[in-house]
Each structure stands twice: as structure tokens, then as C-alpha cells.
């Protein structure tokens, strides 16, 4: 098991956001986490990244307890997080954003070649390299956010709603890239509201409602599930 989330409870102040959530991702898989707005998808990813503390349960990655190390050290384990809403550094250029992605000492030395490498995945970023990230279009910002996460050569990617607010044709292109990244051997945990598209590329899926995991299974089975069809696929 690569990532293992076991029975976690997470609170925002006094409000409980996650109830006994468990989730596992095997090496080289794409696992998607589906659910409505506010169901607890982003909360789960933020807990993995250490931005939120657990009240109960554990999160381990390749046998190491992530909930026991400092948030800024999690990337050193090979986990990269593309947060909800991209969260680029708006007053920095595309290139500077990629340089922040290469901040960890293992990546800093080879930052220039790594940045060029990830810009091969998204050629449009090459044209925009000296443009401020805040002035990019939504699709370009998402590409920049994924590229920024890839500069440190992670083997696990946490993707939070990469399709949010993007035109269908752009979403398709981004999901294409996600699949390509996965084929290169990067394991992916993908949080999505866009259930249909996510289940197209995922191997397995989890459905989360009001902070609890309600269903899980292979993507092909979830696509056939009556409840999911009604609630998330609009069929």
C-alpha cells in the first residue's frame, strides 16, 4: 500500500469535517475521490499534506506516518499537492512559480532542467514563462499548478479539482496529461466533482458525503452504480 488513510477525524475549530474516513491508494494507481461541494474531499487532501491536524486515526505513506512529520517536510517523501483553486503565487512569473516548486534541496540544483522538462508537458507554459501567474487564463493556471507540483519529481500527486471552472475542451486536455503523468509511474489521488470525467481515467474511486466515505470500488463499477448515476453523473 502506498498511501493509507485510516479512520481519520478532522475538525475545523469545533466543526467536525471528516468522520472515520479510510482510503488507500496502491502504487501506480489513479484513485479518485468524488463528492459534492463541502463533502470533505479537499479536507482529506489537506490532512494528507499536513495542513490540517488529525483528531483521530493515521495517515501513512510507504510505511511512514505522515501525521507525525512537519507539513513542509511531506514533499520530501515524494508527495506533491496541487491545491484547490490552483493557489499559484500571483505576483510571480510562471518560471518563478516553478522555481518555488523546486525549492526542496533535492530539486534545487537541477531546477532549470526540471523546469524545462515539465514545460515540455505543457508547451503553453514555455510561451508564458515570463508572464505573471495571476494574469494567466484558468486553464493555463491549472497547467502551471500541475507543472509546479511536478518540478520536484514526486512519485505521488494529490490533485484537487483540476477541472474546476474550466471549459470542457481544456478539462479533456488536462485529464489527458494526468493520465500521461500516471503512465510515467506517478501514483495519483484525484479529487473531483466532475465524476464522469474522473471515472474515465481512474482505476478506483471513493464517494464521500458529509464527511463520510459512503461507497468505494473499481471505477467501472461506480460508473454503473445507480446512486452515483443519480447523484453525480446526472443520468
Amino acid at each position: 500500500m502506498m498511501l493509507e488513510i485510516k479512520n481519520i477525524d478532522v475538525f475545523y475549530g469545533d466543526a467536525q469535517a471528516l468522520w472515520d474516513v479510510s482510503l488507500a491508494v496502491e502504487e501506480k494507481e489513479i484513485v479518485t475521490m468524488l463528492g459534492a461541494n463541502g463533502a470533505g474531499k479537499s479536507t482529506t487532501l489537506r490532512a494528507v499534506s499536513g495542513l490540517l491536524k488529525l483528531n483521530k486515526g493515521s495517515i501513512s505513506f510507504a510505511g511512514v506516518r505522515l501525521d507525525r512529520i512537519k507539513p513542509h517536510q511531506i514533499i520530501l517523501r515524494g508527495i506533491s499537492h496541487v491545491p484547490e483553486g490552483r493557489r499559484l503565487f500571483p505576483s510571480m512569473t510562471v518560471m518563478e512559480n516553478l522555481m518555488v516548486g523546486a525549492y526542496v534541496s533535492s530539486a534545487w540544483k537541477g531546477r532549470a532542467s526540471s523546469a524545462n522538462e515539465v514545460m515540455e508537458i505543457f508547451p503553453v507554459l514555455k510561451e508564458r514563462r515570463n508572464q505573471l501567474a495571476g494574469t494567466l487564463s484558468g486553464g493555463e493556471q491549472q497547467m502551471c499548478a500541475i507543472a509546479r507540483a511536478m518540478v520536484s519529481h514526486p512519485n505521488f500527486l494529490l490533485l484537487d479539482e483540476p477541472s474546476l471552472g474550466l471549459a470542457p475542451v481544456i478539462v479533456e486536455r488536462i485529464f489527458d496529461v494526468i493520465q500521461r503523468i500516471n503512465q510515467r509511474g506517478v501514483t495519483i489521488l484525484l479529487v473531483e466533482q466532475n465524476a464522469h470525467t474522473a471515472l474515465q481515467i481512474a482505476h478506483r474511486g471513493y464517494v464521500i458525503e458529509s464527511g463520510r466515505v459512503v461507497t468505494e470500488g473499481p471505477a467501472s463499477r461506480l460508473l454503473q452504480d445507480e446512486h452515483i448515476k443519480q447523484a453525480y453523473l446526472g443520468l
Binding site: R87, S91, M92, E96, V100
Partner: protein, 291 residues
């Protein structure tokens, strides 16, 4: 009105303004990264002045080493202050209030410490370089030329450092989006710590350069602190470019007020401009810009 007098005063304004810019850039640096106002900034400046005084007059240092020692001690003091006093308040509720109260406390403590330990007598520090330069009929003291040179070198150097170095990248990332910086491996607490040290060092450097002109005393930090707040409002809170532009502008306003009104009126002019900005352009020249 005598044009030569105006030109000379403007030059003085630029020299003084360069130091306002240096003090204000430390203040704006802290605001930009930690989102707090440091009310003890002027006292770190004051400590810089005393360290210079003692290293020149008691230890017999060359001014260069005295300045370096003052900057270094202020840097370390900044680190200690951040770790001991501000760090425990970070990420707790009411940070905007608690940081002001805490730094105000440090400010009062340091002023009274200086008064008790070093006395209320104003101490004079000799000019680093004697003599004046005669240029196109102007007489400019070498000390003032030195001040301008130091300000230019430090500001340009600091700007390049923030733009290019690994720490500079981490600093700007933390200032713009702390959570995003954290997930990319940046330890924001360490960034805050070092930022505080650098900010204190900038204040102390300005103090050492101005000490020969303004004398060293326990309250010497109050005027530059107030001026730095004005500068930061003129330039836009958190903006480095704004702090520099605002610094020079304030220096020139004060000098011109001295020429056209009288030297007692220069603070009135400075604060009148502050009030005008607060009323008509509260975001300053560059708005609340990010690093």
C-alpha cells in the same frame, strides 16, 4: 527664493530620504511576509546606534567594523525577538492585535532599558569621513555621499537577493500564499525568523549611517519609526518599491518644508501629506502589493 538653497535642501532630503527608505523597507518586509506591524522597529534602530557608538568610542573600532557589528547584533536581536516573543503568538487568534501589543511592549522595554543602562545624555558619533565635496558650486559633505552610496548598494543588493536567491524565492512565496509555500516544502516559521533578522539589520544599518548627524540616545528610534510608518502608507503597505519611492518623497517634502516654511514645520508637512494620502489614496502609490 534662492535656487541654490532649494537644490541643496533637496539633496539633503534625498540623503535623509534614502535612510527613511531603508528603515521603511524593513517595516514593509515584515508586513509583507508576516502581516504584522513592528512597533519595536525604531528601537532596533536605536540599538544599532548604541552598538556603533560603543564600538567606536570604547572599543576603538574602525567605523566599517562598528557598522558591521551593529548590523550583526541587530540581526541576532531580531532573531531572538521573533523566536521568543512573536513565534508563540503566531497562528493564534487575534494575531493582528497581539503582535502590535507585543512589539509595543518590546519597544517600551528597550527604550527604558537604554535609558537605565546608558543614561539620558545624547552621545555624539564622529563623521566617518570628514570634509566636503565641491561640485558645481554645491558643497556636499562626504558623509552624506557615503549615506547615499550605502543606501543604493543595500537596496539594489537586497532586491536582487529577494528576486534571485533560494531564500528570496521562499520569502516571496510565503508572503503571497503561505499554505501553498508550505506544501512545496518551505518552512514558513524559518522564513519569518530570518525575515525578522534582516528587517532589524536594515534598521540598524540606517541608524549607524545617521548616528553622526542625529546623535545617539534612547529615543532616537521614535522619529524614524514614525517616518517609516508614513513612508509605508505613501508607498503602499508591503510594497518594497513603494517604501523606496515613499522614503525619497518624504525626505524631499521635509526639506522643502524647511526651506519654504521653517524647520519646525517639517513634521507638520510630513503628517499633512500622510493625512492627505489616507483620505485620497489610502492604498498608497503601489497599493498593498505582494512580494
Amino acid at each position: 527664493m534662492n535656487l541654490k538653497l532649494i537644490a541643496e535642501q533637496l539633496l539633503n532630503g534625498i540623503v535623509l530620504g534614502s535612510m527613511y527608505a531603508l528603515v521603511a523597507s524593513g517595516l514593509t518586509l515584515i508586513w509583507g511576509t508576516m502581516k504584522m506591524l513592528n512597533f519595536a522597529h525604531g528601537e532596533l534602530y536605536m540599538i544599532g546606534g548604541y552598538v556603533l557608538y560603543f564600538s567606536l568610542l570604547l572599543l576603538g573600532f574602525h567605523p566599517f567594523w562598528g557598522i558591521l557589528l551593529a548590523v550583526f547584533i541587530a540581526f541576532v536581536l531580531g532573531l531572538l525577538m521573533e523566536r521568543a516573543i512573536l513565534h508563540p503568538l503566531l497562528d493564534k487568534p487575534e494575531w493582528h492585535v497581539s503582535s502590535i501589543v507585543a512589539t509595543l511592549g518590546v519597544s517600551i522595554f528597550l527604550q527604558n532599558f537604554a535609558l537605565k543602562a546608558w543614561g539620558e545624555r545624547f552621545k555624539s558619533v564622529p563623521y566617518f569621513i570628514e570634509g566636503t565635496l565641491d561640485l558645481l558650486g554645491f558643497r556636499v559633505a562626504y558623509q552624506r555621499i557615503l549615506i547615499l552610496l550605502v543606501a543604493a548598494v543595500v537596496m539594489v543588493g537586497f532586491w536582487i537577493y529577494v528576486k534571485r536567491s533560494r531564500f528570496g524565492i521562499a520569502l516571496r512565496a510565503t508572503a503571497q500564499d503561505r499554505d501553498a509555500a508550505t506544501i512545496l516544502g518551505i518552512n514558513s516559521h524559518r522564513v519569518y525568523l530570518i525575515t525578522f533578522g534582516i528587517s532589524s539589520a536594515l534598521a540598524a544599518l540606517a541608524a549607524t549611517m545617521l548616528a553622526p548627524i542625529f546623535l545617539v540616545n534612547p529615543w532616537m528610534g521614535i522619529p524614524p519609526q514614525l517616518k517609516a510608518f508614513i513612508v509605508v502608507v505613501l508607498g503602499g503597505l508591503g510594497s518594497f518599491g513603494g517604501a523606496i519611492l515613499g522614503g525619497f518623497l518624504l525626505g524631499c517634502i521635509e526639506s522643502l518644508a524647511t526651506v519654504f516654511l521653517s524647520s519646525e514645520w517639517k513634521d507638520v508637512a510630513a503628517f499633512a501629506v500622510l493625512i492627505a494620502f489616507l483620505v485620497f489614496k489610502p492604498s498608497g502609490f503601489f497599493g498593498a502589493k505582494e512580494w
